[in-house]
Symmetry: C2
Subunit: 422 residues, 2 copies
């Protein structure tokens, strides 16, 4: 077994809400190795249960090494009072700061309050560690209408995405005024966080749609191995990663000069729910599957290469003189060299939402990608893909969202949306 | 921090697909303890990634310590040929025996076959360990109609459940000819298993409905701590557990004398999808929540008691002379002393299926309970609950299933349903 595989398995831990809080730190070790061994197969993953810092220049949950579970929610604002919305954002921020550190949502918690009042926390995460929970907020274009006086502050980058060829979007699971992405290594912790934000928002926001996901389909750090999507292929090999500092400045983070000022240090999130017709895919020959992606299924190597991270050589020909990686192969169309250098920080999750009533699993990829300007990055890439990607025979985009995720909350005096509403 | 809490946290690991296969065994340790320490807080949970034996007297996945993730599927049989159905059950058994041991579904696997054919496995679990996967099969009453000549073999215990007060069952997510319960400590592994069984069944069965779950809501072993449901309460404190050998013979396993012979060593599974109106629940005062359950929310102690496992004293009165545990409290109505001694081995999971289009999370409990005879166990208990349980204000049963799960597959020459079709 190669070291890469060993590491992959350790990082493929699933929702390992590994015990920590109050019990010291916990380490995973490959048995048979001595404590303190510096062998590269001895990986300490205490972070699976640990808390991720909430305050910072950027919001957590973007370059944070991708946790294994997702609960994503889009809210509609139902109050028309600006002050009530700001108050809610303040309350949410305080709750998020607490929950990401493994605490109850409110000061009195699930059981610490008075018997005559509803608890300040719903209780299902009592006793569970922080589990790497991050909560990341974004504002949709619809928030910048005339309700809250925000029209002048709408970023150009938040202009509606164009309609792409093949789009089959359902409006009831698309868009939304405000989104919150909860990622954690335990789904109960991610669900608890979203549920408590919804509880706090009662009367001011309404859940428009929400999505659960598992088995992160991209890595955001070179310390993570590449997971597989539900087509069985490694997904996100060439993803932007937190170690790519210069690329992140160029491709991920909105700069003050990009305008508006309130988005400095933020990033734009595109969500696309991509249904896969897995039953059809599963009957496609292995050769066809590999041609469609342009990679081999086992190792994830680009066709013509041997290792997953081998450079892609788009010029190679097969024995008939045809391109080894076809003109319409997924990795060719999606590659930054094909899209004016545009890259994405992907952070998607696999989903299965039961079945569809037609004898098929309702399964696919909840695609999420962060970027500096979706109209220069996601849009050209998706236009390339939507027109001719060989994969289109097996997928359908059923939901779409675009959200402006501001810079981080700096300290306890700051709150989500402070700069926007200032 | 008490030892119980430490242990609870370790066992609340979530979908910890902890690395194992090929890398030796993996142990979780509380850091700071020496290897080999016999301290009760040093818990080895290699089982989270290990394989559960497939062959045995009983099917795995019933008393097996409850894994943290579920993918449950109900199939309709669409072939009318008995031989095709038997052949499918043989193929499924072979695939289940492989997958539960961490192998690909088929001999040639996801990448080991010929390029010109679809792979024998869909690939998304490549490199993941067995993760405690169990696959448990059951046969619904509808299978015993005139299609396959099974009418004479239908157990009396498989007679339809009565309609219970308040039932709001949706037929499209109820029933089914055959069910398979996949439990694992990594959702990707559970999903992979069901997806491959559906793939193998193409043309012979069709997915009728399927359900994902997380955060097991009952323990099936005294070595597991009691997890919490989405009402924030510990759930399943008094569940039947694998250590209760005599009770299991009396309450869980069908005996040869119960008839029919093909069900000896098996058990009957009742599934109920119980939607919770969590938004309303979250606005109920703590005192009301505790009165409804009859337990305190923090510790899980019965009202009047201190510890979770304290005996329940239904005779206690409050200062006004009223029963401390109300006449319609959930734990009173559900208790075996209230139901002629009837008990269940519960194995449910929390679920969140996104939102309901009305601004609310679509969340609740996917209740599963195994028992020797549902008409002597689940039915009287549920009749008690459905009539007057204080909890009914906050829940709604939207799906129901009843399945006869036969005894275990004994060896590689045996297969699911062999005794039934013999």
């Amino acid at each position: 077994m190669s070291e890469r595989i060993s590491r992959r398995k350790l990082f493929g831990l699933g929702a390992a809400g590994v015990a920590a809080a109050g019990a010291g730190t916990v380490a995973l070790r490959v048995a048979g190795e001595e404590a303190g061994s510096a062998s590269p197969t001895s990986v300490h993953v205490a972070a699976l249960s640990d808390a991720v810092p909430f305050y910072g220049e950027h919001q957590a949950g973007i370059v944070t090494p991708a946790q294994d579970r997702l609960h994503f929610v889009a809210f509609d604002v139902i109050t028309d009072k600006r002050a009530e919305l700001v108050e809610l954002l303040q309350e949410w921020t305080a709750a998020a700061a607490r929950m990401t550190q493994g605490k109850d949502a409110g000061t009195f918690g699930a059981v610490g309050g008075v018997l005559e009042a509803p608890p300040d926390d719903t209780g299902e995460a009592l006793g569970l560690p922080a589990s790497g929970l991050t909560l990341t907020v974004g504002f949709g274009g619809s928030l910048f209408d005339d309700r809250f006086g925000l029209a002048a502050k709408k970023p150009a980058a938040l202009a509606d995405l164009p309609r792409f060829p093949g789009d089959a979007l359902l409006p009831e699971i698309s868009g939304g005024d405000i989104c919150v992405q909860a990622c954690a290594n335990d789904p109960q912790v991610a669900v608890h966080a979203i549920r408590n934000l919804a509880r706090i928002g009662f009367g001011r926001v309404s859940v428009r749609w929400s999505q659960l996901g598992f088995g992160r389909t991209s890595s955001t750090s070179r310390a993570q191995a590449t997971p597989r999507n539900l087509m069985g292929f490694k997904d996100g090999t060439n993803n932007l990663k937190l170690e790519d500092k210069a690329l992140l400045e160029d491709q991920l983070w909105a700069a003050a000069a990009d305008g508006p000022a309130w988005m400095a240090g933020g990033s734009y999130l595109v969500t696309r729910k991509i249904r896969m017709t897995v039953e059809t895919w599963d009957r496609a020959p292995l050769a066809e599957q590999q041609e469609i992606f342009g990679r081999d299924k086992g190792e994830g190597a680009p066709l013509g290469g041997k290792g997953e991270f081998d450079p892609i050589d788009f010029t190679l020909k097969d024995s008939a003189g045809e391109p080894l990686i076809k003109a319409d192969a997924h990795i060719r169309l999606a590659h930054h060299s094909h899209n004016g250098g545009a890259r994405l920080l992907r952070r998607g999750y696999n989903y299965v939402d039961g079945s569809d009533g037609l004898g098929r699993l309702d399964a696919g990829l909840f695609f999420m990608a962060y970027q500096r300007d979706p109209h220069r990055q996601f849009v050209p890439i998706q236009l390339s893909l939507a027109r001719t990607d060989l994969l289109n025979e097996y997928i359908k985009h059923v939901s779409s969202g675009l959200f402006a995720c501001p810079g981080g909350v700096h300290d306890a005096g700051d709150h989500w949306g402070r700069a926007l509403f200032a």
